[in-house]
């Protein structure tokens, strides 16, 4: 039945399969500049287009741009930087890159290209530029910033007879927009329409199950606490963090947030018109306009916490994303030139337009078509930097778990803060 010929077919198929390596591996030796970025909606073709002038002047070089989803970011980059070939330049947000820098995988740009970096430093706002440096060295050049603010549903506010939240900290009614007022508004918006004793509308579409720590940190910062102290060697919230924890617990207990703060996907409720407010980044504007065009929405500033100075209490929270250069890049000079090119005014403005995010450069022109964007644009000034630390993202996990435990009534806010503080201390002390 089976003949030797079949064996050859088998063998050929095997050889074909096993020998067939993906093009990415084969190009290791060619003159390729490799660029990796997690997707904000752009594609590799966008990079090829905007970087064409750069490469047309360097015919010996070729671009290999990889735009990949955010999911699996750690696995992808950890494996690339350990096992195989890391990209020449990569995009890393402020909380992501310190780990790679501390492990010696990123080039200290100020050492390698001091004059150019010095010149570039003047093109960016200080607070964003600082987020790209650690231990006195500049590792990243800012590219975008994302700030989180308060979205609200004006229709629900009208029905409840409530005044809209202030749009900027300079608005007249901003002084009155305190946590207490926020809580009142949230309570008024949390309603049971069909009278069955169960809420079907909530004040704030918020949950601690969200992976993004910006859901939790505002309440720490607005209370006057920070993640790490100035020395970056201890936690920064043991003394003043309880205020924020307590406020989160109140939000859950009062029913202002759905499912006691443990809803797996709360933003949906806002998109469906069943929540009065949500705290989200500016990218939500584009989701709303594109996918939920019938939903009215406004943009406002988050409420003031007990910390006296809005600037001290972190008026806006968000992140900045950076381009970094791999230390093991075989062509550091060319890669750095590419980095300079992509962060120069025209290419970066083009990419901002593609992804509909905000550019980090001082000379970046924000779009003026939607007045609601004003809130987010102004937010850049109040963006106070995250305390950079290689293990910062693990701090998220610790704090998040403790907050969730508190919301489940397993710990009091004070106990949760103390537990989180000691865990963070142990974690940070490892370095």
């Amino acid at each position: 039945m089976l003949r030797l010929a079949d064996g050859f077919v088998f063998g050929l198929l095997l050889l074909f399969g096993l020998g067939c390596q993906s093009p990415a591996n084969r190009d290791a030796a060619d003159s390729v500049l490799r660029l990796w970025k997690a997707s904000h909606g752009e594609t590799a073709q966008d990079f090829e287009h905007v970087l064409a002038p750069f490469f047309s002047q360097r015919p010996a070089l070729r671009l290999e741009a990889v735009v990949h989803p955010w999911q699996g970011w750690d696995e992808r980059y950890a494996t690339a930087y350990t096992g195989g070939m890391p990209p020449d330049i990569a995009y890393m947000p402020d909380e992501f890159w310190p780990r790679f820098a501390a492990a010696g995988k990123l080039a200290a740009l100020d050492e390698m290209f001091p004059e150019e970096v010095e010149a570039m430093s003047r093109e960016y706002p200080d607070n964003l530029w600082q987020l790209g440096s650690m231990d006195g060295h500049q590792y990243g050049i800012p590219f975008v910033y994302v700030s989180w603010h308060l979205y609200y549903n004006p229709e629900l506010f009208d029905r409840a007879g409530l005044a809209y939240p202030p749009a900027t900290p300079d608005a007249a009614d901003f002084d009155a927009w305190t946590w207490d007022r926020f809580r009142e508004v949230g309570l008024a918006l949390s309603q049971d329409h069909d009278g069955d004793g169960v809420l079907d509308q909530w004040g704030l579409a918020w949950s601690t199950l969200d992976v993004n720590p910006n859901a939790i940190y505002p309440f720490l910062w607005q209370g006057g606490a920070d993640l790490l102290d100035a020395s970056r060697k201890r936690n920064g919230f043991a003394e003043r963090g309880a205020v924020g924890f307590r406020f989160m617990r109140e939000l859950a207990r009062d029913g202002i947030v759905p499912e006691g703060g443990l809803h797996p996907g709360p933003f949906e409720l806002f998109y469906d018109g069943r929540a009065g407010m949500m705290i989200a980044p500016e990218s939500a504007i584009h989701i709303l306009k594109r996918d939920f065009p019938d939903l009215p929405f406004g943009a406002g500033i988050v409420p003031r916490g007990p910390a006296i100075d809005f600037y001290e209490g972190r008026g806006a929270f968000g992140n900045s994303g950076f381009w970094v250069l791999s230390k093991d890049s075989p062509r550091p000079r060319e890669a750095f030139d590419l980095l300079r090119f992509i962060t120069s005014p025209d290419p970066s403005a083009y990419m901002m337009d593609v992804v509909q995010l905000f550019g980090a450069r001082k000379d970046w022109q924000a779009p003026t078509d939607d007045p609601r964007l004003e809130t987010f644009i102004r937010g850049q000034r109040y963006l106070v930097p995250y305390p950079l630390h290689p293990r910062l993202r693990l701090v998220h996990t610790i704090i998040q778990a403790e907050v969730q435990g508190m919301l489940l009534d397993r710990k009091t806010p004070e106990q949760a803060v103390a537990a989180a503080a000691s865990a963070v201390d142990a974690l940070v002390a490892l370095r």
């Binding site: 096993l18 067939c20 993906s22 999911q71 096992g83 079907d200 998109y271 996918d291």
Partner: protein
């Protein structure tokens, strides 16, 4: 049993309910997939599409590397299955019908591999694959998965039942060793080979963790990994997620319905052979 017809009816009814319960998530997936539903909770419920379209399907097919993922999954599963059949049957034949120094020890060593959980070998396998330059390649997706001893075990048990006299007769007729294997042993082992083929194919098709680590390039991803990234990309769009899930299930369901007799016989035989 025929004495109590209503009891029999009850059996049909109850098992029918179980079958429906088992199938209902798939029905749900089907219903949701025909509209870019953003929200599926809410009053009134949004399960039944009010304006069904196929845009969810076309969007999934065009906006993602779905074609690549489908090809990769198919290619990896087919090639891996063929490779396992060839390589492990050769080893099983050696264990079953050949005598050589260290046979028992080696066999038990191989057998011990059955008890190794995947999570133990995951990181080292990954580091080894990295050192050999196998990341983001078909070789990396296929080669490490060929080392599992289940096939060797199954086939060896089966081959023990092949009479030695048949093999001797073939040798006397002038058959070389490979010929004995190819012409006598393999054809006789087809039932077990079929079982192994189905087990291997299904396992590769479903495999998630290993391809997640190895295939980070979008063009090299297999279907489960691609689907996972799709679901985070279309985070609030349940319609698109369900369309993606259905598209990824379709190929293997079609194959299964076509070959279901062999599937079930294979998995049963595999289980009973323990």
């Amino acid at each position: 049993m025929g004495r109590l017809p209503y009891l029999r009816m009850l059996r049909y009814l109850l098992s029918g309910v179980l079958a429906v319960a088992s199938l209902s998530p798939f029905v749900f997936m089907l219903l949701i997939s025909f509209e870019h539903h953003r929200v599926i909770t809410g009053n009134p419920l949004h399960w039944i599409p009010t304006a069904p379209t196929l845009t969810t399907y076309t969007d999934v097919l065009t906006l993602s590397g779905f074609g690549d993922w489908l090809f990769n999954s198919t290619f990896v599963a087919v090639v891996a299955t063929l490779a396992v059949l060839l390589i492990q049957s050769m080893a099983a034949y050696a264990f079953a019908r050949k005598r050589f120094f260290g046979r028992e020890v080696l066999f038990y060593l191989v057998l011990a591999g059955l008890m190794v959980p995947g999570s133990m070998t995951l990181i080292p396998q990954f580091l080894i694959a990295g050192k050999f330059g196998l990341l983001n390649s078909y070789a990396g997706l296929i080669l490490p998965t060929l080392a599992g001893p289940l096939g060797v075990f199954l086939l060896r048990q089966y081959m023990l039942g092949i009479p030695q006299s048949l093999l001797d007769a073939a040798r006397i007729d002038g058959c070389r060793e490979f010929g004995v294997y190819w012409r006598i042993v393999l054809p006789l082992s087809l039932p077990a080979m079929g079982t192994l083929a189905i087990i291997t194919f299904t396992a590769h098709w479903r495999e998630f963790l290993w391809p997640l680590l190895v295939a980070t390039d979008d063009s090299m991803k297999t279907l489960p990994v691609g689907l996972a990234s799709l679901s985070s990309q279309f985070n609030t769009d349940y319609g698109a997620q369900m369309a993606g899930a259905l598209l990824s299930l379709l190929p293997v369901v079609v194959v299964f319905l076509w070959l279901q007799r062999y599937f079930i016989a294979g998995l049963t035989a595999g289980a009973m052979k323990e």
